[in-house]
């Protein structure tokens, strides 16, 4: 059974990883829509602008790295989770950091889940597929668009 198509906002500054993650997502289901931002600064504005029209891209899921230029992932999570209209969009942290402190703090800041990027390409693809299999069976909040 094909997984239901998801709209995913990927926030990642490393181009090689963007290519790899995007490819893994499309290998899971070519109908998943992926939008990429390379730093944390424009994210809130991007989401606010996109959510004003139902035709525009508004994600079911946000995947973000913790180490981002300008505004880092930790600060971005706080901003997202304190935004009245964006706070319910599930955030998956996808990062190379396996520090207990990063994991704990991210959960305390209300992320949905935390994935440490595995080293190999195949392992990364499998981790992304397992995540998308799981999120495909979850009910996403439906009222997270700014009216």
């Amino acid at each position: 059974m094909p997984a239901k198509p998801l709209k995913i906002l990927l926030i990642e500054d490393n181009e090689a990883e963007v290519v790899q993650v995007r490819e893994s997502i499309h290998n899971h289901n070519p109908d998943h829509i992926v939008n990429v931002l390379n730093d944390g600064v424009g994210v809130i504005q991007f989401l606010e602008e996109n959510s004003r029209s139902a035709k525009n891209f508004f994600p079911n899921l946000i995947m973000l790295d913790l180490n981002l230029p300008k505004l880092n992932g930790r600060e971005l999570i706080s901003e997202l989770k304190n935004h009245p209209d964006l706070k319910t969009v599930p955030v998956i942290v996808l990062t190379s950091s396996d520090l207990k402190e990063d994991i704990r703090n991210s959960y305390r800041h209300k992320i949905s889940s935390y994935i440490v990027k595995p080293a190999g390409n195949e392992e990364l693809e499998r981790a992304i597929h397992t995540a998308l299999d799981f999120y495909s069976i979850t009910q996403m909040p439906t009222n997270n668009q700014i009216q």
């Binding site: 599930p90 207990k100 959960y107 889940s113 935390y114 994935i115 995540a131």
Partner: protein, 143 residues
């Protein structure tokens, strides 16, 4: 697939048939000793706070929570977990028969990590339990 060892899961579920199904669908029998089942919201809070008869129980790594529970509702349990500094970093998956958009929205606004509707079909139920296992016990890191 390599599951994490000693991954304690608290299941808050009053329906014995659903508890039975969840246990049966867990693929790795090594997990079974680490499944902790409580049958109402009051027991869930006692379990987390290690009050009698749960004084020797571990802190769960994951909570699977039904919404319609006797005594204290699933929403109240969720709110308790997500407001308490001792527990708020524990991921909570809502597993409910309700597909009402109000229940889904309220769960997310109370900071549930995810919301899964219990399927009626046995095969689908099994698939959902496997997916929870594969993602939360193999792929995701928890606090």
């Amino acid at each position: 697939m390599k599951y994490k060892k000693n991954f304690d899961i608290l299941i808050v579920e009053d329906n014995p048939a659903d508890v039975y199904l969840i246990r049966e669908c867990m693929s790795d029998k090594g997990i079974i000793p680490h499944l902790h089942i409580v049958n109402d919201g009051d027991e869930a809070l006692r379990f987390l706070e290690r009050k009698a008869p749960f004084a020797d129980k571990p802190m769960p790594k994951l909570v699977i929570l039904d919404l319609n529970l006797p005594k204290i509702s699933g929403f109240q349990v969720l709110e308790f977990i997500k407001k308490d500094n001792r527990f708020k970093s524990i991921p909570v998956i809502i597993l409910s028969t309700s597909s009402s958009s109000n229940d889904i929205a309220q769960s997310y606004s109370l900071n549930a990590n995810c919301y899964v509707v219990k399927p009626k079909d046995l095969e689908d139920f099994s698939r959902i339990v496997s997916s929870i296992e594969d993602f939360w016990m193999e792929t995701a890191e928890v606090a």
